[in-house]
Subunit: 350 residues, 2 copies
């Protein structure tokens, strides 16, 4: 009897508004077996899957984005890390630890060799870290801050969602470069965590009162760099607070992803970018994997890890069946750090 | 008896709303004479003065900008071209044609040698051109389009205020680089003029109906570059129309300069810059005068002029006493091309 396999499928696209559990279906499906593999394919058992805010765009059903939308009746897919259980590829062997961006939200599935990358195993660190401190969100932090905003010692940076998957690395990369770091987070626990990373001022944006006054008090001289993960009102406040030659990394605008035309926040301070000579950079990290920035990132963060100079908070939810809720939580800020779903144990054999 | 001298002074600052003629005062003042010059100064007779949209910011009285605000009781000042009538500087002689950014709105005034630059005289072209085709607005077009947005042949550009001082040069620089050019202008005459510059599609934004539909029809595949001179609704439409890796030159937002907090347009499509990977560049041309971009601009446009390949529309108003109205007209789009005020004739001697 084939071991059990679970698949998380999308029921319907959600063009706007807030997704719910009813939009996902948990199915028991057949487990792929080795004899089904075509040439240059691998059978992967999932260890960890990544829940990311950009999934909201993939739920809409629109084609007008940088990644394909999820399709009704098909499994969710995204970043993951897993173990090769069978291979017809000369590049991968049984037992290899691999990562990639086309992991299905299934216990086991088949990918072609071009869709995965081998990562070091037996290093003593959890495979989940390949979705975290050495993964896509950290590299996103590096690209937005270092590659695009060219931070200089003594400058002031404001980081939104500063305890999140990307934000926590922005805070640490900025402190390592001698910047004054102001963080915004959505709970007192998150605030304490961001302070523990070395941020100079951190505020709870839900309880601080006026965002404008809070930012003004935290940065009386204004902001040189704003690393935006949230959009909406905080972006508007940042726009009004930028110093001459300021830079904004437009990494994400999660506060707006579930907005309808009626509830979308409308920006009033964009006009400030002309007299203040502010640049705003929309970017997608996948454009930078083949560039020197990637090696620079791996080198810097690996060294920091070995020296114990970098912290990274994972928010681990156990069980593939809990993955839909784990994703929905993101849109309400219920995660605390980079959210991953643990699907199976490294040493598990069925 | 000293020849007559006229000065246009500001009566009061105008923090928001629409300035009126009552905010300016025309005074007869004493004419500076050669014996008043300190070392390294020049006495300049004004030939032409430049009226520019950025003056709106200088009328507010706020210090929080890249150029000083005009002060009540003091003359307006800005770009101009004039003739040296007396000099204690070894760098300038009587009769030299000079330009600079600190020209007072007066018939004659004194500047230090560091505030002016000599330009070629006796070339047969009107000195007004140093405020136009070879002047600051053209260089602004060059910096925004070429230096910041890196245009590539085959791309599509939308240019707002396409018949204006900056826009008309953007259109021509873009066509010279093989782009498809869509222009927006505010009257049918302006539309015809922009077409005559070679733009592929030009629409009258006041009469075209839905801006969204108009831009969609003009650029069904979307826009690679938006050169923004106006802000407001057209910027919002452009934001919704950007293609992947689009670039926006945020040169000006004249539709918003007289806005009050109640009437300011609120942008709803900024969120699109993340999935579309759009960069937005606020910039001020004065940062680029010392850079290689300036020489590249002068070389390119001088050559185009000599080859008769560039057109540039000047909108000349005669008489310093008419300068306040000439400026106010800009805020209502009544100018047609780069607006300059003719103060005295080149050969005039008093």
């Amino acid at each position: 009897m084939a071991p059990s396999n679970t698949s998380i499928k999308l029921v319907r696209n959600i063009p706007s508004g807030t997704p719910t559990l009813d939009d996902f279906r948990i199915e028991s499906i057949e487990t792929p077996t080795k004899d089904l593999l075509k040439p240059n394919q691998v059978l992967v058992r999932t260890l960890y899957l990544s829940c990311d805010p950009y999934f909201r765009g993939r739920l809409t059903g629109t084609r007008d984005s940088y990644v394909a939308s999820f399709a009704p009746g098909k499994p969710i897919e995204g970043l993951g890390v897993g173990i090769v259980e069978a291979s017809t590829s000369s590049k991968f062997n049984e037992g290899d630890l691999v990562t990639g961006g086309s992991f299905l939200w299934e216990t086991r599935f088949v990918l072609s060799e071009s869709e995965i990358t081998k990562v070091p195993s037996n290093t003593g660190i959890s495979p989940a870290n390949y979705l975290g401190v050495l993964g896509m969100p950290s590299f996103t932090a590096y690209v937005g801050l270092v590659s695009l905003c060219s931070p200089k010692a003594g400058e002031t940076i404001l980081v939104s969602a500063a305890s999140g998957a990307v934000g926590q690395m922005v805070v640490q990369l900025a402190k390592a470069r001698g910047l004054r770091v102001i963080g915004a987070a959505g709970s007192d626990d998150k605030v304490d965590f961001v302070k523990s990373l070395g941020a100079d001022v951190v505020f709870n944006y839900k309880t601080c009162g006026s965002l404008q006054e809070t930012v003004k008090k935290a940065a009386p001289q204004g902001i040189d760099i704003y690393f935006d993960n949230v959009g909406g009102e905080l972006l508007d406040v940042a726009l009004s607070s930028m110093r001459f030659n300021g830079r904004i990394a437009a990494c994400g605008m999660i506060s707006q992803y579930n907005a309808t035309p009626e509830t979308a926040y409308r920006i009033k301070n964009l006009v400030n970018i002309v007299p203040k000579k502010v640049s705003i950079f929309g970017f997608i990290v996948t454009d930078y994997y083949g560039k020197p920035d990637y090696k620079n990132f791996i080198d810097e963060v690996s060294a920091s890890l070995q020296q114990g100079k970098v912290q990274y908070k994972l928010d681990e939810v156990a069980g593939l069946e809990n993955a839909p809720q784990a994703l929905l939580d993101l849109f309400e800020g219920k995660n605390f750090g980079k959210r991953v779903v643990k699907v199976t144990d490294t040493n598990q054999r069925l």
